[in-house]
């Protein structure tokens, strides 16, 4: 049953036959598959010029994989459940990212901003951590399809679907991982663990938001080790909308890439210089995607534009229409709440 659903997921994720056998060939080393999957995924990804936010997606995935590894390190015993947790969390962090990318002041490298920025996804997470299994299950279902609350918060934008889809895909992959690891082939994963644990920390710094987020995730997962299995009797019907995963076929490919992948993530079709000021885009800028039309520009220009008419130079639509931006606005109003949470999170991790 589980295997079936997983297989389905991977099918829908990418109609690549390679994926299908993965759950069945339990003895196949993850790493190999991961690597090859990564390649395929990258190709697909690159070929999908129309995919918006692709850079971010990728980053998320990378982070996810890292976080997962790290967590595997942390608690190998409760690993499989954790995995699912991650999947569920991805959702939040994904939104997070989009939000992140929208606010120019939140440049990824700054931890402070990341902590502050952690707020928007916070509300769901605390909720889910406090109430154990049912909550996590609902969040799991969120990864399948966004729950109402989140939808409200995000504002309905079609672009959400992509994030959603990522989350879906990741959730599916998590399960996949689960299975694989159940049957023991976590050797290589474990071997990567140390570096991954480190890298998670690094991520916390480098890409503060998500890093912090992940930290929280990891803990939460350890505390709350329950999520919907695909064959769960009480699993909400609304769970994985597999059709959505079609929109992002390659997410699970990227999954197992270990700790390295974000290093190669910059190879995407990102312009080397800002089309507005013609200055070279640095690392932060090139991972900054303020508008879902895919028009990239540097943070400085984005800020200047926001101060003026606030329309994306690429599509001439106001930047405010981005759901992520809305999210920032919505949650920006309550700075104390998120701050407290992120502090506690830090202390825990």
């Amino acid at each position: 049953m589980v295997t079936d659903s997983i297989a389905n997921a991977s099918i829908s994720l990418a109609p690549n036959a390679r994926d299908l056998p993965l759950p069945k060939k339990k003895r196949v080393r993850n790493s190999k598959l991961k690597q090859s999957k990564l390649d395929v995924r990258r190709e697909q990804w690159l070929s999908r010029g129309a995919v918006k936010n692709k850079k971010w997606n990728e980053e998320d995935n990378r982070l996810d994989s890292v976080a997962i590894k790290a967590r595997e390190d942390d608690n190998l015993s409760s690993k499989k459940i954790n995995m699912r947790e991650i999947g569920e969390e991805n959702d939040g962090s994904v939104h997070h990212h989009s939000d992140f990318s929208d606010s120019p002041s939140n440049s990824p490298p700054s931890i402070g901003s990341s902590i502050l920025g952690g707020n928007d996804s916070g509300p769901h997470f605390t909720g889910s951590s406090s109430s154990s299994s049912c909550r996590s299950s609902s969040s799991c279902c969120r990864s399948g399809s966004i729950t109402e609350e989140e939808e409200e918060e995000e504002g309905d934008d079609d672009c959400l679907d992509d994030w959603e889809a990522i989350a879906d895909a990741l959730a599916a992959t998590d399960k996949q991982h689960d299975q694989c690891s159940e049957s023991s082939p976590r050797g290589n994963v474990v071997s990567q663990l140390d570096s991954c644990g480190d890298s998670r920390n690094e991520l916390g710094v480098e890409d503060g938001d998500s890093g912090v987020q992940r930290g929280r995730i990891a803990q939460r997962a350890s505390m709350n080790c329950r999520a919907w299995r695909p064959d769960d009797a009480f699993r909400p019907q609304s769970l994985p909308t597999l059709s959505k995963q079609l929109s992002l076929p390659n997410t699970d490919r990227r999954f197992g890439c270990g700790g390295i992948p974000w290093a190669c993530g910059g190879v995407m079709s990102v312009p080397t210089s800002c089309p507005i000021c013609f200055e070279d885009l640095d690392l932060t800028d090139s991972s900054f995607l303020p508008c879902f039309c895919g028009f990239r520009l540097c943070l400085f220009c984005h800020k200047r534009i926001l101060e003026e008419d606030g329309r994306c130079p690429g599509c001439r639509k106001p930047y405010d229409h981005d759901p992520a931006d809305n999210e920032t606005n919505v949650h920006g109003g309550s700075p104390t709440f998120p701050l407290a949470r992120s502090c506690s999170m830090i202390s825990r991790s």
Binding site: E279, I305, P313, R316
Partner: protein, 157 residues
């Protein structure tokens, strides 16, 4: 201020590099003021402006590229969307449809496109617009051609 200056410098370099690439457009920066540019554009072929060379004056605001440059024809032109006396151009991308991603070069291209495809429904030159709106394409073309010959062609001899 600084940003616009830097951007204009970059555009200047770009223009130097692309000079050969686009023979219809010649963008020249004022020697002493980078916010003043002039452009020479060739009238597009198969239009009454063919064979003419039209001079444009760019006045770039300090908020450029967030604000569009002000462009006007220095050469007289008989076109529905160009003011006959002032040379003012009625073009959306120079007003509300401006995007910072546009460059002076792309503005020139847009103006060439406008010359080939006049919009008689938002005329600055009513005579020209009325000719087109009343369907007198021949009248419009001959008038435009005459003015091209009078104003935009090098005097012979």
């Amino acid at each position: 201020m600084q940003a616009s200056r830097a951007r204009l410098f970059k555009e200047y370099k770009e223009v130097q590099r692309e000079k050969v690439a686009d023979p219809d457009i010649q963008l020249v920066c004022d020697d002493s003021n980078i916010f003043k540019w002039t452009a020479l554009i060739k009238g597009p072929s198969e239009t009454p402006f063919e064979g003419g060379v039209f001079q444009l004056a760019f006045s770039v605001p300090e908020q450029y590229p967030l604000q569009p440059p002000q462009v006007r024809f220095l050469t007289k032109i008989f076109h529905p969307n160009v003011h006959f006396k002032t040379g003012e151009i009625c073009l959306d991308i120079l007003k509300n449809a401006w995007s910072p991603a546009w460059t002076l070069q792309s503005v020139c291209r847009a103006i060439i496109a406008l010359m080939a495809h006049p919009e008689p429904d938002s005329p600055l030159n009513c005579d020209s617009g009325n000719l087109l709106r009343s369907g007198d394409v021949r009248g419009y073309q001959s008038m435009a051609k005459m003015y091209t010959r009078l104003a935009a062609m090098p005097k012979k001899g």
